[in-house]
């Protein structure tokens, strides 16, 4: 399932390529973008299928509502822009026109989290998972690498109902082996088993968490790592089992600690297996400009920084 070849690749390019593949086999796939098609990489689809590609201009609300209309005649719309504008600008359209009637619209939002980088806080969506997760009927998925992104996009084309898929701007290391990894929308993925602490993450922080597990191992801590690509609906069973075993949980996300993976995990654990939880993410604050890697370090999301925080949490430092 896992690969040792940690080559960094563009998830966005993978998204674009997968859309083109899907477009070739399914004439109902249509793609919408809001003047960011070169960044989201939906332009690849637009080049091959211009009649099924709609650049809506800088009009995210129009894009989401147009996607609704297209879905009512049996099309499978993928609507893309940056996470900030997809989730933020068009929230009412997503809630009332997509999710309430449960229309088959797929929102693939790129540039999620602080790793947007130099553009700074105005473009760094740190609340999108929170505000998408709270809408009934919405499925929320944060894939970790290229192989998983391809799987998730293919799943989205088959699944009937609204989805919010958040992908990163950054090139991320491969985690999964393309030949053997199969995305399961109902199951969290246990990346490594451990006894002392459970780490829960998804998206681009999965690779960092894998590094963190290695560092912890060197320091004599056995960490169980759970990858949670589907934030909603949540795989409660896997989380509860692990929490009952390790009795300490750390959540890691490129998102605010309010409303995202940390909150989702706490909500379910306090109901089924009350456990001490450390939430790592941005702490009710806006982001800022900077080089991606430096931002990851500043906000404590690199493998090393994560390991320090986990050791502190476990009272070992």
């Amino acid at each position: 399932m896992l690969t040792n070849n940690r080559e960094r690749k563009s998830i966005r390019a993978e998204y674009g390529k997968t859309l083109v593949e899907l477009g070739r086999i399914n004439p109902d796939i249509v793609v919408l973008d809001a003047d960011l098609s070169c960044s989201t990489q939906t332009a690849m689809f637009g080049k091959e299928f211009p009649e099924r590609f709609f650049n809506m201009g800088i009009s995210e609300q129009d894009m989401m509502a147009t996607a609704v209309g297209l879905s009512t005649v049996g099309k499978i719309p993928f609507a893309s822009t940056f996470s900030m504008f997809a989730a933020g600008r068009a929230w009412d359209q997503i809630r009332n026109s997509i999710c309430y009637p449960k229309f088959n619209v797929k929102i693939v939002a790129t540039h999620g989290g602080i790793t947007v980088g130099e553009d700074g806080a105005s473009h760094q969506a740190l609340e999108d998972i929170s505000i998408m997760r709270s809408i009934p009927n919405m499925m929320v998925v944060v894939p970790a690498d290229c192989a998983e992104t391809a799987e998730v996009i293919k799943f989205a084309a088959e699944y009937k109902g609204p989805m919010y898929i958040r992908i990163a701007r950054t090139n991320v290391p491969d985690v999964f082996d393309r030949a053997t990894y199969k995305f399961n929308p109902t199951k969290a993925v246990i990346i490594s088993e451990g006894m002392d602490v459970t780490l829960v993450t998804n998206g681009e922080t999965l690779a960092e968490a894998i590094d963190c597990v290695e560092i912890l191992k060197e320091q004599g801590v056995s960490a169980e790592l759970i990858h949670l690509p589907v934030v909603k609906p949540l795989d409660t069973e896997t989380l509860v089992q692990s929490a009952k075993k390790t009795k300490k949980v750390v959540t890691i996300e490129n998102h605010s600690i309010i409303g995202g993976v940390g909150s989702a995990v706490c909500e379910t654990l306090c109901e089924y297996a009350p456990t001490s939880v450390l939430r790592i993410g941005t702490n009710d604050e806006f982001g800022q400009s900077g080089e991606q890697r430096k931002l990851m370090e500043f906000y404590g999301l690199t493998g090393e920084k994560l390991a320090e925080k986990v050791m502190n949490f476990l009272g070992k430092k």
Partner: protein
């Protein structure tokens, strides 16, 4: 181009009279709703469903279902009017109108596609219907289906900026299968639209955005019908600006913003029904 004959006009007027009574009864029974904006929509929705739209009360059981004309009620608070028209067209029993806005009813306060056949999309939060209609119109064109998409928008609703995103969408994509009715009753909850955020003149706005524009009396079935016939032949999206009277048909509700979202009490109900039964 055909025109409505006298008999057809009479038929629409009789139908509209029933719809008005239903609206007032429904809102009175529910003790809530929006009399003003429902009563201003009566002739337009009646004429559309009786004479202009190719539609199927047996809904998706009809083999021609995919080729139906669509109506998107962007001003979803005119739900009582739409429900009453659908019921009288045979979509569901007229008796069911009594359940409007009650717990468990298919007739939600604002239209919900998951609750009731005949409803195309869910609306209620203003400013979204036009863009949805654009998406439907685009989809029909992709499938080479020659149906029309009607969208019904309030004049106050035009203050939502998202409407104008849809206006640009329609002209950019040359959606000649799209016809927008603007229910210009000149009032919104807090008062006169011109006082609150003036949108006048409307016709030049639509024309400058690349639409065609037709202005009519929104309570005159012939003018409604003729405008739709013209709009269907247009090679552009068409805005039909329908001058209407908010609360039309009930004297004390007419042109009174206070009746936007208020149910009549027992005496007011009796008075309204007396007028509507005349």
């Amino acid at each position: 181009m055909t025109e409505l004959n006298e008999k057809e006009i009479r038929e629409i007027r009789e139908f509209a009279k029933e719809i008005r009574k239903n609206i007032v009864e429904m809102i009175y029974t529910a003790k809530s709703g929006h009399p003003g904006g429902n009563l201003s929509a009566v002739e337009i929705l009646s004429t559309l469903y009786l004479k202009c739209m190719n539609h199927f009360p047996d809904w998706d059981k009809n083999p021609q279902f995919k080729t139906r004309d669509r109506l998107i009620l962007s001003k979803g608070h005119a739900s009582a009017c739409l429900y009453s028209v659908l019921a009288h067209c045979g979509y569901f029993p007229v008796e069911e109108l009594k359940t409007f806005r009650q717990l468990g009813s298919r007739l939600q306060g604002h239209p919900s596609v998951k609750h009731l056949k005949g409803i195309e999309v869910s609306t209620g939060s203003l400013g979204q219907g036009l863009s949805i209609a654009c998406g439907v119109a685009l989809g029909l064109k992709l499938d080479k289906i020659d149906s029309n998409v009607f969208v019904y928008i309030g004049d106050g609703e035009l203050q939502e900026g998202s409407v104008w995103e849809g206006v640009m969408n329609a002209s950019h994509n040359k959606l000649d299968n799209l016809i927008a009715f603007i229910d210009k009753n000149n009032l919104q909850i807090d008062g006169k639209t011109d006082d609150i955020k003036c949108m006048t003149p409307l016709d030049s706005k639509f024309l400058s955005f690349g639409w065609d524009c037709i202005e009519i009396d929104g309570h005159n079935p012939s003018e409604i019908y003729d405008a739709v016939q013209k709009a269907k032949q247009n090679n552009k999206p068409t805005a039909i600006i329908a001058n209407t009277v908010k609360g039309k048909g009930v004297s004390f509700m007419e042109n009174n913003a206070g009746w936007h979202g208020k149910a009549p009490n027992k005496d007011e109900f009796a008075l309204a029904m007396e007028e509507l039964n005349k």
